[in-house]
Amino acid sequence: MREEPDRVQVPGFDIDAVRADFPALHQQVHGKPLVYLDNAASTQKPRSVLETLAHYYGHEYANVHRGVHHLSGRVTDAYEQARNRVAGFINAPSAREIVFLRGATEAINLVAQTWGRVNIRSGDEILVTGMEHHANIVPWQMLCEQTGAVLKVAPVDDDGVLDLDALGDLLGDRTRLVAVTHVSNVLGTVNPVAEIAARAHQSGARVLVDGAQAVPHLRVDVQAIGCDFYAFSGHKMYGPTGIGVLWGRAELLEAMPPWQGGGEMIRTVDFERGTTYAGIPQKFEAGTPHFVGAIGLGAAIDYLETIGMDAIAAWERELCDYAMQAIVEVPGVRVIGSAPDKGAILSFVMDGAHPHDIGTILDMQGIAVRTGHHCAMPLARRFGVPATVRASLSFYNTTAEIDALIAALHKVHEVLK
């Protein structure tokens, strides 16, 4: 007789009320109720965020940058309030250290092309890990190409755990930067970023953390982590697309040259006397920002805080355990990533069924998962799989949805027989 998975606790919040807050969850796909398990790719938006976007686009709208008229003043205040909200959310010492950008990818590229171009020289080393997303690999490869620096890679073990001893061995006098993901978008592994930051600093290296998969799912405190830069994206944390954040230590941001030139990032512009730049964070916010997006991100933070990151993390942990226990019962399934400290991301392969086919079969059941290499080709190669299926959970998912996933997986072999 099949063993029932351990009884799962109920979430520390009203799950039905929460699900009612997300209109997109309540639709049919191919005649079946949507089961949205692609949250690592992007997340659905609560009504409060949607209403905020509609309000600012539809009513309280003007360009920011402290125009004299009433609407401009209101919107500028709301934009800067959002900056304060973000600083509070990640416990940054100051809102001056919050740069609004398009997303985590842009944030990492900014650091590579400003801090990196000034501080990295030929023969220097940049240390990343084998589980990084391309966004935290390619900008460093490009920087190495430009400067003659060398990219080193800390390995990942068969359970998807970062080899900290190997990382320690790779840290040396030439290491200038360690760039590491907080939570792996494929394995779900939560890395001990505070410990890594401490070790890196002992070696005289700076630390950038890719927090894209962390901020939506656990409480992040950049001061407690002790890193130098932290990057994340709004659309992965229930906020709008096209908005994201780079947090950086004030002294580092102040020393970095500007990136994009244009309006707002300047003090004065003069053909004869040259141009002087604004202070932080404006120095890195050229042009009209996605201010409505930033205000929407602030609303997303407010929503998350009403539920509480601890309650969110606890429920997602329950869902993850429930799913891990159930999925290993499906014949032929191999889960990739079984770190003891792991976020609610399940990547897997199945004997005799290609991820792409699994994805289509699940899609026909209304189940949204992602298939492929998930922007982590080196990791896929390391695990010897050209592609995986990835189910990534959020606090608005239910155990019933996981049951639906498991039932559909059982069907896969029937379909391909």
């Binding site: 191919h30 069924a353 290609h354 991820p355 792409h356 086919d357 289509t360 079969i361 026909m364 298939t371 492929g372 290499h373 080709m377 896929a380 799989v385 050209p386 592609a387 379909v415 391909l416 027989k417």
Partner: protein, 150 residues
């Protein structure tokens, strides 16, 4: 739109038992590599064309999803013994039926390949069905570089 439209009997059979796979014909004189990195389908197509321009033998290697594998397998069966010109016509016919809204699948031209038309209902999978064909085409024209349909 039903799964059976895509995972139709013939396709499933070709996926489970791909013909001319893994097979590199002795004396093969045309080769090409096809790769769709986003989904992980990757094939090498090997063709032996004789002096009269007839495809004497053909095989493929690599790995991919059920649709790409089945399409590659059916392709090798369909082009073996055909002239290069006939194989090219088949390639265009398959391309058209999968990507052109108005194209009418002709039983006469496509023959057994007609089962591939079901893939049209699943636009995200069309690239899987066409990968091997583009790779074959590249091989026959001795094109350099890796082929992709993404």
């Amino acid at each position: 739109m039903e799964l059976r439209d895509l995972y139709e009997e013939v396709i499933l059979d070709h996926n489970r038992n791909p013909r001319n796979y893994p097979y590199r014909p002795p004396g093969a004189n045309h080769h090409a590599h096809g790769f769709n990195p986003l989904c992980g389908d990757e094939f090498q197509v090997h063709v032996k064309v004789d002096e009269a321009g007839v495809i004497e033998d053909v095989g493929f290697e690599g790995a991919g999803c059920a649709i790409s594998t089945a399409s590659a397998s059916m392709m090798t069966e369909a082009v073996k013994g055909k002239t290069v010109a006939e194989a090219e016509r088949l390639f265009h016919a398959v391309q058209d039926v999968l990507t052109d809204e108005s194209a009418e699948p002709s039983d006469e031209t496509l023959g057994k390949l007609k089962v591939l038309t079901g893939v049209k209902e699943f636009p995200m999978r069309v690239k899987c069905a066409t990968l091997a064909w583009h790779t074959l085409n590249a091989a026959l024209h001795d094109q350099e570089g890796t082929v992709t349909t993404e």
